[in-house]
Amino acid sequence: MGIIRALDVVYEYLKRDDDGNVTGSIRAVDGVSLDVAPGDFIAILGHNGSGKSTLAKHMNAILTPTEGCVWVDGKDTRSEEEVWDIRRSAGMVFQNPDNQIIGQVVEEDVGFGPENMGVPTKEIWERVEESLKAVGIYELRKASPNKLSGGQKQRVSIAGVLAMHPKCIVLDEPTAMLDPNGRKEVIRAVRALNDVEGITIILITHYMEEIVHADKVFVMDHGEIAMQGTPREIFSQVEKLKELRLDVPQVTLLAYELQQRGVALPDGILTIEELVEEIGRLKECQS
């Protein structure tokens, strides 16, 4: 069984009138099943309102399913006794770094999680040090979080989760508010955690370029999984993605446009190197 497993998950938001009476419901997640293997880098795409954030909140028991079941590291998220273990196994990072940082000093903020878990002081400091090093901001450990850039703050948030030694980290649009450099820093840190530490990553994003290296991509629409596959399989379907209000990386779009105009390129080109390679090959065939 995978580190995160969802079986026929349904989640309904209840609509209430001014007096609190239930007037209806919206199915934000509608029959989702998925199985995430330990060490995988998973990406979840979907337009605003497609249900991806609601699904993500099931992965560390912030929400529990209306119907169906979610297991995190083998534990049922509906079991109240196990909620703390579940949250320790699967940490979460949100969009706005300013809402997630509470410490006055970077290292104190990162130590907050393990401290609450009752980790001995000496070990807290070891964890803080290794977490800050893992995301590349150890030199900022004495800084005040509000003096940092967006990308640095977001890495403080990630280090805070990391210090709790999770098996899995769920990141819900961690780069939406960042400048290009900040985006790069965060994605690089996340990939390193996956590659080097073997932590399972679930990344939700609207930036298609960020997920070309994912092991698997899920595309959500109307609370359901509309597409799933490798980035190459997903990004080969330019028209389908556009119907789902999504996009492909610009370089994939360029290859697609060239194909449409009769250039013999393979489907699903994901990186600049691949495109240049393929065009180079075409030129050689011509001459």
Partner: protein, 281 residues
């Protein structure tokens, strides 16, 4: 409306050891009706500069002229300034509060003291300009989608009929289609009404596609200023200040390195496709 920023300096945390210049002798002239992209990393001073343009912040030295008038001169009507320079903050949908979409957009023009008929006329126009059709007008602003909320919030500023529209990252957090819809609408507005539009953005691809001119800020100064093609030629300089060029610029550079005779200044997918087709033919 034209804007002239003349040697503006602004300091944060004055009188403390943390004092620093958020704006350092900035000079900038923007002609009436231009669509200008403002880029720069977090903390480069772009938002500080934007907040000067409608008087939310006051320069420690230097002057700002709107249509030739000094906005800090005694007697300059501040209230008029705020309606003339519309500022759409990040995540403007957090500022929605009324019972329905229509009433929410009414709030601004109603506070200008306009007669009811004119308020409603302006609101109808603004909502249609941002592409919110009539069937949504009586809905609660909290029950529409994220992209729609954002557009309603922008309509709230448009209903003031400003001469300058400033948008601080209007597409943050929206899905790709929502991003395009908003930018298409802003572009359309700018061409139709001749409004001056300033777009603060972190997306190089977006500014490459939509604006006439790019101003790059770094450490409170203007680093580069020019047409998108000119600005994005300076790839190393942009990277040096935490920015980047659009992905297409990198594609074209890689192709050139590989010995293809393609223009390096393609910045949109369309331009890059045309350039590559030429090189292959």
């Amino acid at each position: 409306m034209s804007i002239l920023v003349d040697h503006v300096t602004y300091l944060y945390e004055t009188g403390t050891p943390l004092e620093h210049k958020a704006l350092d002798e900035v000079c900038l002239e923007i002609k009436d009706g231009q669509f200008v992209g403002i880029i720069g990393h977090t903390g480069s001073g772009k938002s500080t500069l934007m907040q000067h343009l409608n008087g939310l912040l006051k320069a420690h030295s230097g002057h700002i002229y709107l249509d030739g008038e000094d906005i800090d001169a005694p007697g300059y009507p501040k209230k008029k300034l705020r309606s003339q320079v519309g500022l759409v903050f990040q995540y403007p949908e957090h500022q929605l509060f009324e019972v329905d979409v229509f009433t929410d957009v009414c709030f601004g023009p109603k506070n200008l003291g306009l007669p009811k008929e004119e308020v409603e006329e302006r609101v109808r126009k603004a909502l249609l300009q941002v592409g919110i059709p009539e069937e949504y007008w009586k809905q609660s602003p909290f029950e529409i989608s994220g992209g729609q909320k954002r557009r309603v919030a922008i309509a709230g500023v448009l209903a003031m009929q400003p001469g300058v529209l400033i948008l601080d990252e209007p597409t943050a957090g929206l899905d790709p289609k929502g991003r395009r819809e908003i930018l298409d609408q802003i572009k359309k507005l700018q061409t139709q009404t001749g409004m001056t539009v300033l777009l603060v953005s972190h997306s190089m691809e977006d500014v490459a596609e939509y604006v006439d001119r790019i101003v790059v800020m770094n450490r409170g100064k203007i680093l580069l200023d020019g047409a998108p093609k000119e600005v994005f030629c300076h790839v190393e300089e942009l990277e040096g200040v935490g920015l980047a060029a659009p992905q297409m610029t990198y594609v074209m550079r890689a192709l050139r390195k590989r010995g293809f005779d393609v223009d390096e200044d393609a910045i949109t997918v369309e331009e890059a496709a045309a350039g590559i087709l030429r090189a292959l033919s």
